[in-house]
Symmetry: C2
Subunit: 204 residues, 2 copies
DNA sequence: CGCTAATCTAGAACAAGTTTCAGACTTGAT
DNA sequence: ATCAAGTCTGAAACTTGTTCTAGATTAGCG
């Protein structure tokens, strides 16, 4: 159920085909540039040139560099969610499955560390003007985690645990990207926080 | 083995009195400007002017805006640590005391939300070139939490829990500052993550 | 004191995000 | 097909972080 489209958009006037194509070219160029060079390498003029679009047009589609990169992240997240649905995690307990899911996502990010850098930095640097988009990313992440837990109808306590897991996930990524934590340490942190799930889900 | 102290500092050549005063003026101006307007309001030219220092000098003391704001955060953290030492948290269990400590810090930040914005955004946006300074902030935060737990000699498990608590703390602040989480929600998240401590400290 | 190296200053210059504008092109409705 | 409204383009301008330079000041030292 896509329930959020109505609140965030005052009738987005559904893009024409050429507009859709432009949007796609822009996101592709953004991911490409981010892929090598990270946040700093995504320069608006270059994105515009790469995607064959005037600078002003780029800004019409994405009102700031951060908006652009957060949209890029949404795009990548959807891709990842598809992958996960095709091969769900196989652990016995909810916390194992969540940890496995996040570690799988983490390995995907490790394959494109620069892209990860661009997306995560944009996400945490985003100010209020990007809140709707960041919130969308957050909802999508929540959905992925709840999926892994195999819950249709989580309790408030479980939702709190999921929020804390997301906090840890984001912040652990930040410390990894800035070289202050190793891959092993991120793994430990994820496994540690996932034990919270066992606290809120007594048995099964 | 502290292997990084040698690489990051080629003997800091202890500042003269006037230099110390300059540094202090700069940090003061930075906090002042951050206090109203947040991250964006801290403009390097203005900081330089406010602190009666040439722009080039400002950059000699703090090689980037992010360095400056992270240093500002170190400054504020020290202040806070002093306050906490004077009136330690009074909870019965370790997790209660940690939650109380963090909530106290959170209330202090609420009094200066713009300053909080500037410092937290700088911290999460910092790239590798600021790692030593960010790491220092992290160590200081860890010390505060361990203090609240009342531990002299934490187990590796407890250190993991503390790291996860720090992750949650930072990320919860980010969501609060960007208006995506309420104060109440931050409180819940902090209390939730603090229950991890009980998991790693069976009884007392 | 007088020298030398380091530091500081004022200001220009540069880089990249963002805004603006005039004119060309598309689109949708009549 | 034609018109109005909306969109796109190319280019310049503006903002703010950062760098650079030439000359003045300061600090340490013999």
């Amino acid at each position: 159920m896509p329930a959020e489209a109505s609140t965030s958009r005052p009738a987005p006037s559904p893009l024409t085909e050429r507009q859709e194509a432009r949007r796609r070219r822009i996101l592709h160029a953004s991911a490409q540039l981010a892929g090598r060079g990270g946040f700093d390498a995504v320069q608006m003029r270059e994105v515009a040139e790469s995607s064959q679009v005037a600078l002003g047009t780029l800004y019409r589609y994405f009102p700031s560099k951060v908006h652009l990169l957060v949209a890029t992240m949404q795009d990548q997240l959807e891709r990842m969610q598809g992958t996960l649905r095709r091969r769900p995690p196989a652990g016995d307990t909810a916390s194992e499955r969540v940890a496995e899911t996040l570690m799988r996502a983490f390995r995907a990010l490790q394959r494109e560390p620069h892209l990860a850098d661009a997306m995560v930095r944009a996400l945490t640097f985003a100010d209020r003007s990007v809140s709707p988009e960041v919130d969308q990313v957050s909802r999508q992440t929540t959905a992925i985690i709840l999926d892994a837990m195999g819950l249709d109808d989580p309790t408030p306590e479980q939702l709190s645990a999921v929020r804390v897991i997301e906090h840890t996930w984001h912040s652990a990524l930040v410390t990894w990207l800035s070289g202050r934590a190793s891959i092993a340490q991120v793994k430990i942190d994820i496994e540690t926080v996932c034990r919270l799930i066992d606290l809120t889900t007594p048995r099964e």
